[in-house]
């Protein structure tokens, strides 16, 4: 082994390397507030935040894990909406959370040693109000407003179709419920990042059987009923679970009018939906009992495209090359999925061959790369 070059590297300026590495997380000059970062000392039993208040704008938390367990740090808004999070902080490590908080008000900080449960929480106050990046450009404002209209319409349809689905479950009409399941989910899957931004809702609506839940909290939502319908047969509490599902989708719908989105959040949602496809649908993980994953796949792509479309005028202004590439790649994925259509929907995941999933994976990779560029372009 020739160690010489590596020795040279190790001897190099550890200080310089350390600067660069910490920069990995926090980076841009804009990230550091005038008073420097707020430090968070996280241990297995405490979550000491150096201050409980900060002015609106970009807030940086420097989280040091002095505990023995891997931890996470969250900033929650009203209704446990996740404003920002930094996950997977190993013992002894320091990571930065840079979060945009444009509105003053009451927030909550939380450390989660062991990365589970509600965490060690404390109130956090944001004062004043920063100029929203959305307001600085009329087109960006129009983009987010347009996308919010889309989200509103999808959530309305979601509630309606979920109610139909729940009624079928309650009537014991398994065949009808099975037919409605993937259709109703389409509306959820198109706007999933929005539901996920309300941290408490997604686990209730879309949780998996093996997710960790607090003691006494039942497994509810789509996948619980999916398992009843496809595997276990309807259970004594299936009807109650169906009612809870409807109540939770109404809760989601009710929160949307108060929702504000930045262009960056919008763009990240578009990218996040494709991540969902890559990790949940092409793997068959999401709908493991019904195998209706390709319905969700299509819906995720449609939702991603809706978000990108809303940003398109800004995109075309700032990087005219990107739009045509996005058009072509969205079209390629859509065309590819056409091959898997059936009379009443899509082929089941279990009918796919490794060649099929490889083809899907390649087309989603090809799409997700340019989609991931959108956030940088619209915020440049």
């Amino acid at each position: 082994m020739s160690l010489a070059p590596r020795h040279a590297a190790v001897l190099v300026p550890l200080a310089a390397a350390a600067t660069v590495l910490s920069g990995c997380v926090s980076t841009a000059p804009s990230a550091a507030g005038p008073d420097g970062p707020i430090t968070v000392n996280a241990t297995d039993s405490a979550c000491e935040v150096s201050t409980t208040t900060a002015p609106a704008g970009t807030v940086t938390f420097q989280v040091t894990n002095d505990g023995s367990q891997v931890t996470e740090f969250y900033l929650y808004g009203t209704g446990d909406r996740i404003m920002g999070e930094v996950e997977n902080i190993g013992a002894g490590l320091t990571r930065d959370l840079v979060v945009e908080v444009p509105d003053g008000g009451a927030y909550t900080t939380a450390c989660k040693p062991g990365m589970s449960g509600d965490g060690i929480r404390a109130p956090f106050t944001v004062t004043g109000s920063a100029e929203r990046s959305t307001d600085t450009n009329a087109e960006l404002a129009a983009a987010t407003a347009g996308y919010l209209r889309y989200v509103t319409s999808q959530s309305e349809a979601l509630t309606a179709r979920t109610t139909d689905f729940a009624n079928a479950v309650k009537a014991g009409d398994v065949e009808q419920a099975k037919a409605l399941y993937p259709q109703a989910r389409t509306y959820y899957e198109r706007i999933e990042p929005i539901a996920e931004s309300f941290g408490d809702l997604d686990p209730k609506l879309d949780g998996r059987e093996d997710d960790e839940r607090d003691p006494g909290v039942a497994w509810t939502g789509w996948h619980r009923l999916e398992k009843d319908l496809w595997v276990d047969g309807l259970q004594p509490d299936s009807a109650r679970t169906a009612d809870t599902l409807v109540a939770d989708t109404k809760d989601l719908q009710g929160r949307i009018p108060a929702l504000t989105l930045t262009p960056a959040e919008l763009a990240n949602g578009a990218k996040g939906l494709l991540d969902e496809v890559a990790t949940g649908k092409i793997t068959g993980e999401e709908d493991r009992y019904s195998h209706t994953d390709l319905w969700d796949f299509q819906a995720n792509v449609e939702g991603s495209q809706a978000a990108v479309s809303a940003l398109r005028p800004v995109l075309d202004q700032k990087n005219p090359q990107l739009g045509p590439v996005l058009d072509q790649r969205f079209e390629a994925v859509t065309t590819m999925l056409q091959d898997y259509r059936t009379a009443d929907g899509y082929r089941l995941y279990t009918e796919l061959t490794p060649d099929d999933t490889k083809k899907m994976s390649a087309s989603v990779d090809a799409l997700a790369e340019p989609v991931s560029q959108v956030a940088g372009v619209v915020t440049s």
Partner: protein, 411 residues
């Protein structure tokens, strides 16, 4: 951060390193006919007469990837090859793939460079590019295919897995730091999304060949020194004869070579249960110093005529005899393989072996006869399983600053 993140720049040694390398090259190799030496800062020249990563002294680690085209538009492929070349040149110089690539000024922008090589030295990274027969076919360039650029014939005992075989393109990343090699492949694969997809890839963790007389002979997973008789960077006439494509090749390939890759699974556990004498007779060398059984030092010439009471000293079915130039009408190859262990199989055995890479002037004349004779008669075959295979044409080095991988072929 201001300015491009230069991993190498962090060292502050670049200038001095380059100067030392120049002196070293002059003293060690006389006329630097082949650009083989790395500067002391670990930078191997990216441009030159040959592509780096062939006669470059074999680095410790490899990440090899074979890709397929998902687009057959020549313009899109050309554009990718330009972007690949630019990113590859930067990475071999110890930089990120683009200015501010790893750490963009805008925190909402996705970093163009994935960042795991921040702070790491260039680590003698080389990136070597090749095209398979199907590349030319798919792009409508079949008339430019030289005859030797063809799938290998089936060899006795082959158990090729289609998912580990072939490929339109290949990228060979070698470095002394595994993370540097992985970073390079990861970023090039990422840049290729939409034009290419990964067909298969292979990590190698220990070189099994020496490509320079300055290197000690390494051992393969059978525990034997491997590649003692390899062609070396310091043998330019032999390289011309056996490695570099000459006037017989098409213009785009002249001065380049062919890369033959074989994933050779070794049945480690049965091998470990064979006695030393059997192991040595299978290889034809001693396990300790690596001397041919007819001699006493590693570099003693093997005497295949030598006999003792039991017959030939180097058995007729010994690996080195069957692989030797004498047994194959003078055919020789430049080996550049790596050991691999890809975890274990479902039966609790190591999924381990040799990722064989050889550079040859003509695979049909250089590699095929050797492999045919090994596949048929080699005593070692009992412990081997070839389950991946590919052939690529490796164009010569990049001439000027505007030249890019495949430019002459796609012109």
């Amino acid at each position: 951060m201001t300015g491009p993140v230069s991993r190498r720049g962090l060292l502050g040694l670049a200038g001095a390193g380059a100067a030392l390398a120049g002196a070293g090259a002059a003293a060690g190799y006389g006329v630097a006919r082949e650009p083989v030496a790395a500067a002391d800062d670990g930078v191997v020249a990216f441009r030159g007469v040959r592509q780096a990563g062939i006669v470059t002294p074999a680095q410790d680690r490899m990440h090899f990837v074979a890709l397929d085209l998902t687009a057959t538009d020549r313009g899109a492929v050309r554009d990718l090859l330009r972007r690949w070349t630019a990113a590859a040149e930067r990475m071999t110089a110890g930089q990120d793939t683009a200015d501010d690539g790893a750490l963009p000024g805008n925190v909402y922008a996705v970093p163009a460079d994935t960042g795991e090589a921040i702070g790491l030295a260039a680590s003698r990274l080389t990136l070597t590019f090749g095209v398979g027969p199907s590349f030319l076919q798919k792009l409508g360039l079949a008339d430019r295919r030289p005859a030797p650029l063809a799938d290998l014939p089936a060899f006795q005992g082959d158990r090729l897995d289609p998912a580990r075989t072939g490929g339109d393109l290949c990228l060979q990343a070698c470095a002394d730091d595994p993370q540097v090699a992985v970073h390079a492949v990861r970023n090039l694969v990422r840049a290729g999304f939409g034009v290419t997809e990964v067909r298969w890839s292979q990590l190698g963790f220990g070189r099994t060949s020496s490509t320079s007389t300055g290197q000690a002979t390494a051992r393969n997973l059978f525990g034997f020194k491997d590649g003692t008789n390899n062609l070396k960077a310091e043998e330019p006439d032999l390289l011309d004869q056996h490695v570099w494509v000459g006037d017989e090749g098409p213009e785009w390939l002249r001065g380049g070579s062919y890369l033959v890759a074989r994933r050779i699974r070794m049945h480690i556990e049965p091998w470990d249960r064979s006695n030393l004498d059997e192991q040595q007779r299978i290889v034809g060398r001693t396990k300790g110093v690596g001397a041919p059984l007819s001699g006493s030092n590693e570099f003693d010439l093997a005497d295949y005529a030598a006999t003792d009471a039991a017959g030939p000293v180097i058995p007729d079915d010994a690996h080195i005899r069957l692989a030797s130039a004498q047994a194959n009408a003078g055919a020789r190859i430049l080996r550049r393989g790596y050991n691999f262990v890809d975890g274990s199989d479902g039966d609790g055995h190591l999924d381990a072996g040799l990722f064989f890479v050889a550079f040859v002037r003509d695979p049909q004349r250089g590699f095929v006869p050797i492999q045919r004779s090994l596949a048929k008669s080699d005593a070692m075959s009992e412990y081997l399983e070839h389950n991946g295979s590919a052939v690529f044409a490796v164009p010569p080095g990049l001439s000027g600053p505007d030249d890019y991988w495949g430019a002459a072929l796609l012109a």
